[in-house]
Symmetry: D2
Subunit: 380 residues, 4 copies
């Protein structure tokens, strides 16, 4: 028998053991077997605000150590990459500490709770030359990458319209209690979901020059967190709709809604060009609809492209088409790009700069809704 | 053998022998065998601006007579109902003449080319006590009627959001020449298609208090009509997107687009309420998706309701579900309601009043786009 | 004003005022305005076994006269075309009388209740040189016609497989009483629905050389017709599945089922060839899915073709794509082909000969199920 | 900081580094972070017939050692579980060796190349009391588990019909060369894909009493493996269709096809009962369609259930609905059940016994096709 060669380690410190923390852990566990990486992630330490949770989660997820104090993690010299999955309001402080300690930073979206702090994070990263990545996982979908390739190739001709939606229903029930999501500092459907669809809009069509939106708080009160019967007012939006004018001249309407009864993952868009169109919904994340405005009369229509090995990096997961990727595998792709960037490959995307630009759009929509006028993200 | 009893006649005069003129003719031919009507439509006269066309079409469609002068038709004492399918800019003049002559008026949408003329038409109809109907045919779809019933019954709880689209691609090709559709007086995608989706929005959710939109002319020049190589500028929109605030407080985003490559009939909406949701597209016009936010956990989802005899007036066409109606049959339903209203039944809907309200919304969006601000339809 | 020219009349006698009778009447009323026909159908007489029903229906549908004795209709010299929509067991007798009287015969499907009587009908029609047509309406769908065109053109390469289904649920409830559909002479799901899918299979792929099937009676007893509480045994199948070997060598599996809970119109097929595939369901009757096994890698997929004016005879109903036809309009197309054939145009299809061949397939499946072996339709 | 607790190891030896080998490796890498298992898989050794491939793959997938001789792996006392992903014809020999050495055996499907060898494998496993599992991965889909739960609960009433399909197109191109899949000993579409749909049929509806099928070789010759221009005959089927009679009395039609142009993963079924129906396709593997034949008239329809945490074990992967699992995660679920069974939990399913029963059905279809008659799997 032959012994296998070991790759160098990329030592991971993960902050947060919730939904996204588990996703990150899973991604780091499996990415090395799927991608030919310059380094193998090593699950070094897990931090959670609750020490017992941290310990249990470290055991469950396979981290070597745990801590209840995230500063011990960001300060640990044996950690290379800090992954931040804590509530949005904590991202900035954690990122500053990690950058200062010379770590690469992999931060969950949205980057921060407002434009100012996002700008500071971006500035700190740039100043330090830090490797950064922000977890807009849907951008990793091979079908979204294909959409960008199709738009960029000119197959659609000149793009003339955009429509974007991110609607789910996890806050549709007024008895769902407050959480960090409804925190006035940085919560709301626009921030939580609108940032996703904005990141896709920018990925496909480029910068947004101006926005005009309106927001609504559908459920004015929710119970306190923790099982209390008491309620308190909701100060964030449950839903936002906004018009967008891209720098290219394209206009579009966009919606963010976390109270859309029945919608579990309607992250959808439609892009029309002078020579064709694209339509997509994450509800059927392994399919992309492409309409080429050419071909024999009577034979045209939207073609349902199913994800397959022709659509990178699908082939890293499966050599046969139609087998489908799931959400967790988008995070695996994210982890692969991160490791490559950290090891000296091409810069990760979206980095803090890009995530800051997304945040500006969100901020501009908020200002637009408050002032009932068009607002330019670049003015924030 | 027994001889059949004849019903009294409702004598029809039709202006225009194009797409909609043929639809009207077909509807009047068949409606009497499908609905138990107080009168049988009789195809008395067809007018078209081109006399030869009028004659040929009268022969083809089964009208007894034809004329190249529509005023002879509106003035004919042997005509009861005047159906107007001429270009939008002519609607007002024709309707005035017909109303003055005491006829019922069945006018294609949009009612007119601007808010002022639409108001005059509404005023004339009200003053004369005329029976009027405007051809927003999609409202006749049993699935849309079902949607209204579901919204009205409270099955969705309180409605919280709306999204509407009417996108087609019949003007997507820049070589498609000018026509009445691109006439600066009353043309454009917003007028042509936006009026449909607005009529549905109002039918389901009631009046719209304010709008904020933007319009775009995608193809700045088109060939002259009639095969010329010369082009001239397009002065109307190819596409409009607008935010709407309903009087009920609901907000929504709406799109009208006649240059959406690949879309043939994307007249679609989604309505979310606190207890459920509806989704519909005319692309699958015999289906309505209903999500009830109740029932056993793990068994919930959007239910695809297929049109059947439980959905009036489907049963007039077929006793068995799933057989499907087509677009032309929506016009048959329209004709049935018109004949009933003309014969003294309940007033037709949408009448000139309702169509005027739709026109105000369209006008408000145009003003909003020009002035880049929110505009109230009621202010027009 | 100019008076219109009248076309010669094609005088229609209709037997049966049920579901299909109404469809025929509607088709004859409207077809003349939609197709450029050599003759205009005239609704001359309606016969129903119940004289009062006949009279009421004649009034409602617009027939000039009515009778309770169909022999007066088939013998009426002022009738040109006899349309038979009576229960299956009566088709033969009526057709014989009509053919003998020199009429054209338009008979609902299935042609008859067994192979022997179907053969007699075919023989009588051939001997008399009668113009005949059988109402396999789904064949009239422009999308099915397109499918045949695609198969015939070789776009799919050599066809290698077929799968056909016709599943509905109108007999799924065991409390649905007996009717002509459950009559041991000629009833059953295989006869009622299996004949439709067989007609499509033959239309697309040609003759069937051998079948091997099994049938099931899901509900062994049903109530007597007419509201009685008494039940009696069901002697026909509720469901049949059979393998088919086409003369071309293609094999396929086919299902007929009238107890398929939830299915309202699952008349569906899938045809694969060496260079492409087709998939269709009447549930979305205005769409055809086409997969061409060519084109750029990563861009292939099933293309959803929506019915439009490129797909004859869609343009007779509407000049714009995406507006959709309904089931009743398939009967209008059928009526148009019938009138043209009667007036000396190309022979109608499917005629009695073709319907007899379908009946042989059904008979062969029945024999196959009884004897548990492969049976050749040609042997019946 | 706290050090994490280590779980005991389940030492894995994997034979085969192809598509399925990589799937197994990925599953074993990630399962421990997703399921609360009694043991953590440890990637001990990878064997492949080509030693260099084995070495490279061990490095890439994270195995500690590699070998070109699978007998060294099955004989290694430091291995607990042997995973077999070698060509079908080798399964038996490898399984015998592993069972003899006291290992648990995780074998890819189909269990073997014929009924006789599958029976021997089953017998060996039973005699040794071995823990066995066979990789019918699609059974792990939470939606399939839900389907079984729904059928078992009686929600559909008495099941009356089944239709099953497994169609792909990876062998549709005649220039695709020979491989183990076309090996006369154990290859063919029926064996490769028919075994999947049969495993689902049995999982949902129980044992199959009799089958009657026909097979076809669409492409009679294929190139030799290895890039040669020479071709040799294909001795296995490209496609099979068969009727099945379940012991319960239900009948159904089933298709296996690896030359279905355009189909990438049409593993689909439809089950109808007296009170409802289910429809599924792996093309949309995170959805199950359920029709309950109850509820308000006019509101019924197929409900599209999207996979979520109510559908075990979805919640192990994600706490939020709609995020979707992919194919690889079905293998993770498989690995979890295997580890639990190996560690003394409930026996794995499907084990060698179940896979042998599937093989008997496949064998019976082959015999049926050869002899053109109904064959009982129990007779083999």
């Amino acid at each position: 028998m032959a012994d296998a060669k070991a790759r160098p380690a990329a030592r991971i410190g993960l902050i947060g053991a919730g939904f996204m923390g588990r996703c990150h852990a899973n991604a780091f566990r499996s990415v090395g077997g799927l991608f030919d990486l310059p380094a193998e992630p090593e699950l070094r330490c897990l931090a959670d605000v609750d020490e017992a949770t941290a310990r249990r989660s470290a055991d469950a997820l396979g981290f070597a150590r745990s801590t209840g104090d995230w500063r011990r993690l960001t300060g640990d010299p044996e950690i290379d990459i800090v992954a931040i999955t804590a509530p949005n309001a904590l991202h900035a402080e954690m990122a500053f500490a990690a950058i200062e300690a010379g770590k690469a930073v992999y931060c969950e979206k949205p980057l921060s709770v407002d434009t100012a702090s996002a700008r500071s994070m971006r500035d700190a990263a740039v100043a330090a030359g830090a490797c950064t990545m922000v977890g807009f996982a849907y951008l990793r979908n091979p079908m979204i990458r294909l959409a960008r390739e199709i738009v960029g190739s000119g197959e659609l001709g000149e793009v003339v319209s955009f429509r974007g939606i991110h609607a789910e229903d996890y806050m549709a029930d007024p008895s769902t209690p407050h959480s960090f999501r409804t925190d006035p500092a940085g919560g709301g459907a626009l921030t939580d979901l609108g940032s996703h669809v904005t990141s896709i809009a920018r990925y496909l069509l480029g910068p947004i020059a101006a926005v005009n939106g309106t927001t609504a708080t559908i459920h004015p009160r929710r119970p306190e967190a923790g099982g209390s019967n008491a309620t308190r007012p909701v100060e964030v939006d449950d839903r936002a709709v906004f018009l967008a004018e891209f720098e290219s001249g394209v206009t579009g309407a966009t919606e963010a809604n976390w109270a859309a009864a029945g919608r579990k993952m309607q992250l959808a868009f439609e892009v029309a060009g002078t020579r064709g169109s694209l339509a997509f919904t994450q509800e059927r994340m392994n399919e992309l609809l492409l309409y080429p405005a050419e071909g024999a009369a009577g034979r045209r229509g939207f073609t349902r492209i199913e994800a397959g090995p022709e659509h990178p990096p699908y082939a890293n997961f499966c050599p046969a088409p139609g087998h489908q990727l799931g959400f967790n595998e988008l995070k695996v792709i994210e982890a692969a790009e991160l490791i490559e960037a950290w090891a000296g490959g091409p810069p990760a995307h979206p980095d803090f700069e890009e995530a800051y630009q997304v945040q500006r759009v969100i901020g501009a929509v908020q200002q637009s809704a408050a002032e009932r006028r068009w607002v330019e993200p670049a003015s924030l």
